[in-house]
């Protein structure tokens, strides 16, 4: 067992587990978009970044990949972390403004405005579908092509794949396209209306989390 401190709480964790796994186990919510328990961690969305102090220095690491080590101190919601997370989410929302998952996260983090020019894409390139297809379905019918801005998920040569069984697992696991948000007003403005309907902290955590991690819902409500 490894001893570490997460958000001021002394916890024990099994060796080889990641910070994210430990945090989840202790009920600390770290937002993720490219992570799934049953798939290889990928470390691409960077929302799960946390601050780790190992005695020598403090640095930002992706909690889905960082193996716990003896004596480290982890801050999952420090100011530096939150500022970066919000900006990353803002970038993702500018790419896929209609995703309910992203809009919900924005509400939780108190992000109200997108300052970038809006695009209208459906995919955040989290790679969950690619890993799902390859690792769980044993198929590998889809994959990434292109680099940088040209990166996308497609079947080989963009033709109907012979090995695709139309199982739909890729659609099942996709965090973005499942539900389109209809709340967007003018471009760049987020409605935060989902908050009013489902304040996350109530049903899910029974207010326990509010002492550790503020989802922003209560603040938002008061302001409105």
């Amino acid at each position: 067992m490894v001893n570490l401190i997460i958000d001021g709480v002394k916890v024990q964790a099994e060796e080889d587990s990641t910070i994210l796994e430990v945090a989840k186990f202790y009920g600390i919510d770290i937002p993720t978009l490219c992570y799934h328990e049953q798939l290889t961690p990928y470390g691409a969305c960077r929302l799960c970044m946390v601050e780790v102090e190992d005695g020598r220095r403090t640095r930002l690491v992706a909690s889905c990949l960082y193996p716990v080590r003896e004596g480290i101190r982890v801050k999952t919601h420090s100011e530096r972390v939150m500022k970066g997370r919000k900006l990353i989410l803002e970038l993702l929302l500018a790419r896929c403004p209609n995703s309910k998952t992203l809009q919900d996260l924005a509400s939780q983090m108190g992000l109200e405005q997108v300052r970038f020019k809006m695009e209208n894409k459906d995919c955040i390139l989290c790679g969950l579908c690619v890993r799902m297809c390859a690792e769980q379905m044993g198929s590998g019918a889809i994959g990434f092509v292109g680099r940088g801005q040209k990166r996308e998920v497609v079947t080989p040569f963009r033709m109907a794949s012979e090995i695709c069984r139309n199982c739909g697992a890729c659609m099942y696991i996709c965090p973005v396209v499942d539900l389109h948000c209809r709340g967007v007003k003018s471009p760049g403005e987020l409605c935060n209306s989902c908050l009013v309907i489902t304040p996350q902290c109530l049903g899910k955590y029974d207010q326990v989390m509010c002492t550790l991690d503020s989802c922003g819902a209560c603040v938002q409500k008061e302001e409105k």
């Binding site: 691409a44 690491v61 900006l87 680099r147 940088g148 801005q149």
Partner: protein
Amino acid sequence: MKMKKIRTPQELDSLRNSLLKQKDTNKPCVRVCLGTGCRAHGSANVMTSFKDEIERQGLEIQVDCKQTGCHGFCERGPVIVIGPKEIFYQKVKPTDVPEIVSKTLLNGEVVDRLLYIDPTGQRALYEHEVPFYKKQTRLILANNGKIDPTSILDYIAIGGYQALATAITTMSCEEIIDTIEKSGLRGLGGGGFPTGRKWRSCKEAHGDVKFVIGNGDEGDPGAFSDRSLMEANPHSILEGMIIGAYAIGANQGYLYVRAEYPLALKHLQTAIDQARKYGFLGNNIFNSGFDFDIKINQGGGAFVCGESSALMASIEGKMGEPRAKYIHTVERGLWNQPTNLNNVKTWANVPLIINNGADWFAKIGTEKSKGTGIFSLVGKVNNTGLVEIQMGTPLKTIIYDIGGGITRGKRFKAVQTGGPSGGCIPEELLDLTVDFEKLTESGSMMGSGGMIVMDEETCMVDVARYFLDFLQNESCGKCVPCREGIKRMLEIVTKITKGKAGKEDLELLRDLATMVKNFSLCGLGQTAPNTVLSTLRYFGDEYDAHIRDKKCPAGICRDLITFAILEDKCTGCGACFKLCPQQAIQGKPKELHLIDPAKCMRCGICRDACPFEAIIVR
């Protein structure tokens, strides 16, 4: 003929002695640089002309003619050196060849017009007299201009593979790593990680199979030091890798080289084949029971594949994408086995350290950065070329003494080191001594050794835009901060160059740059904002001028400048009038001409054409 493999240091000695004995040191020999720089100037034709001329005059026995790799002084290519007197000629054309052969080669006379004349009018007869070479300390590049890169015998004759023989037959693995650690050698790929410590971690890591990799995937715009080394002295890299592999306990090595470097690939492959033939690669090297071989992998030209984990993914046949290195590659690298990756320049240092000792190497350079650094000096500088300097040499020395100052007598503005990942260093910091720490402190980095000099006519916002555009295309696209962040930074910077940005955009740019630096997955993303951050730091007033005054002080950003004709200088010659593609210039012959700003597309053709410098940018 089957070559007998060299199995003992004595056999190597006797081979070298017999090579030296055969060689007549007084025999005239012309060495033509066939590096890529000189080839571009037409040195291949010079080489052919020499061969033809020597054949025509029937001198095949009296004189030698051989190719070498890059001498470094690419600005003055094609360069040749004529032995035994070592006379240095520059800008040689095929038509000069008959004269050189009959005068210099046969009679030892000097052809004056081919000598290098420095700006003060001083003639330089030898390479070491040229100011470009005077302040350099050439260790890794020392033999570039002396040996034929395609001949292992040339390399053996100058003491090649001696370090390997010493290391394998007289030193233990521990001793080798101790020596490298004591020498203070640091990774020359840019990171500057202590090489000895890396080797030790790899040696101590658990794994049945271990690998060593030579990284020659140099993708920075304006950098060509790795290429020149691979082209000119491939055996030094191989020798370093074999010694490293022996110390670490690896039996397989990989050289990862861009496919865009065909000559480097050719020379490396030839070198590997020759090393196998002589028994320096293969089974039971120097009768030690140690087996090692090297395979070349060609990179497809992705900048990100210079990053170690992306490079390893590429060798494995996967997409060239980096992974988080919380578990280091020395523990789990190529195929999840302990892997030691070093830049080719780092590997080439190893034989030197083994031959001359750790103390010798530790004396060169500064307290924390030992040895030499190789820079590709390019941009608005008189002597572009390949420069090797002691760590701790001031930037001023590199740019003014070695580089010969700024072209056309313009004023120095900034120097960009470390390629797209580095930053811009301003005039105030010209006294900065170049080493890993100082460059990082200044907001730049050593990187792969690009050094781009910029003069007063360079717009720093435009420079930031250029590098962001490069990085946007070269980001692998895996992680969000790098893929989306660089794109948005480019959007903002482009907006600034168009004069459409406000103050809030600058704030956002700063926030984005900081976030991309801290949140990106790999080194590419983490260093991508350096150009933006360093130009914001040192040239903030230029950003302000673009945003507040809607002006580009350097006169580069097209949307923010206007061309005007000076009344007192215009003679009405009509040179501009004839060339303007937009017909934006009006005026009668011998009268003042005028530019219509509405039609003008600010191409600058008129300014270049005006013989009286009457057209200015506002």
